[in-house]
Amino acid sequence: MVVAGADVGTECVKAIVATGDGKVVGRAVVPTRGYFQDCFQEAMSNALGEAQAQVSDLRSLVVTGFGASCAAMATQTTTETLCHARGAFHHLQKPMTLVDIGGRDPRVVRVDERGAVLSVKSVRKCAVGIGTFLMFTSRHLDVHPTRLMDLATTAGKPARVGSYCSVFAEVEVIELLRSGATAGEIALGAMYSVADRIMEMDRLEGPVMISGGVCEYFPGVVKALGERSGCPVEIIPEPIMAGALGAALYALDSARGG
């Protein structure tokens, strides 16, 4: 028996295929470009290929994320909060404050000793897209997003990128370039800006764990968050896959009749 979980996000679609005993045997990450349906199909196909399985082998498929409603073959859809909390708790098995930072809307989730979600705070409307904001910043700095972190490590101090409106923040980046700030300082400033937005959402109390794609590609955000909060902040294993893993675990519950 195999089950699958998928997280159809605004920046990437993540898919995991697991066996009946919970062992992950296939995984895939596909950039979200064009229609969610196509990206989802591609990710599922890749994950099933790695697992040497076919769609017909799936006993259950749980899908989460912004584009979950576009996955027609899903047997169930579940919220991102529950899936990320489940994925993170699977790794850690302890209470935590989970900060999920994806492309669209970050959230702070408090998880108890049983893995249950106690509370969730999401970012306010004006500050959505803060992961995507880093992509915009890369464009203005004329580097590929994967190079933004390298650039940030060249800076001694972050430039101040303060706006919580992504559009205004982009203008700030342009103003900083005009005023002579280095690309590294702006790259680092953009990461601190993301950390500052998260600090405004809820009080962070340890242990603070991070999931989502942003920390995988931009670990400077994690460092900035640790510095701003004064708490030790750690990244869960395979942070970008946390939502898909949680979805796969719910799929396993479903297949087992849970």
Binding site: R124, M199, E200
Partner: protein
Amino acid sequence: MASTPRAAEAPLASGARLKEVMGAHFAGVDRAARERSAPVAWCTSVGPVELLRALGYQVFFPENHGALLGATRMANEVMGRAHALGYSPDICSYLTSDIGSYLQGKTPLQRHGLSGAPRADLLLYSTNQCREVRDWFEFYGREWNVPVVGVTSFRDVGEVEPHHVDAIVRQLEGLVPTLESVAGRRLEGPRLEEAVALSRTSSDLWKSCLRAGAARPAALTFFDGTIHMGPAVVLRGTQEACDYYRLLEAELQARVRAGAGALPRERFRIYWDGMPVWGRLRDLGALFARLETSVVASTYCNSWVFDALDPRDPLRSMAQASLELFIARAEGPKHRYLESMVREFSVDGVLFHDSRTCPNNSNARFGLPQRLRRATGTPVLVIDGDLNDLRCFSDEQAHTNIEGFVEQLEGAGPRAPVSA
């Protein structure tokens, strides 16, 4: 247009004395809180402070602290702590800055030798300006387990009627037992009359200082005014405020007599409505100086002018003054007031600052700028921003709009510059 700032306004010599006066104020309240030598109250900036003065309180004004947090650009470093506690980024950024500062233990008052804002024995508000002040004070009331009392005032008042005044007087009278109990003394009529007399005197002197902006060239601008208004806020009802404004008034009158302006050259004259953008005072001052445009008057600086105060009828005149405040009025009286200021200060244009987190002190949301333009023929400009939260302010957008506005004034006809 290049945006290189140029040396701005000629500094006022009184500035040195201002620093001493403000420093002594902070030190005095802090000492009273630490040594328990006098009761300490927090009061809203246009609250009934005269009652506190008459009862011997040392008084701290957290809005002044909010402005300091903004002017030092510390506000955005600390306000996130208040947001995380559930105080929305959409509410007053003085409130969120001040509470964030308390939670983070970081304040510009440390530059004055204080470890933080002095702890209060009592907090006294008036909602004549907004509801936020009450919520703000209640946070500290819970933190310190001290009384929070105040006046729930009328808002959007058209004409101030006797029944409005009666209602506020009754509330002021109702405050007295609690204020007396915390102070440990009785309110004496002569002391209240003295406090009201001092408030009125300092208010008159401050008004006279602001009139220096009506001279051509203007001897005082809004940007100077926002700094020199400190004693009008935190020392209202004291001799120190009167002494300071006598000094400033003399200096400004000397400037006017000498035909000296705050700017080296003045081509245009602007009126500023709404809150200052505290974190950008210097930048905006330099921008207007480069554009040879004096911001000659403002609603904001005039908010601490209380013409109604009368020591012969202290409580009733305090009530009247609190109700006559611009911020507490309906659009009709606001319109009339702005029209009179346009005439009195001979302004070429009116700038409305739409402050994101201060809707009560933003007057561009119900068509007032457009009506004022129609009534007076004076061009108007609305800029978006905030008093403290610089995330709501775009330098580029504001500069471009202001530069475009001055170009618009230039297009209205040549003006002979007035040199200082």
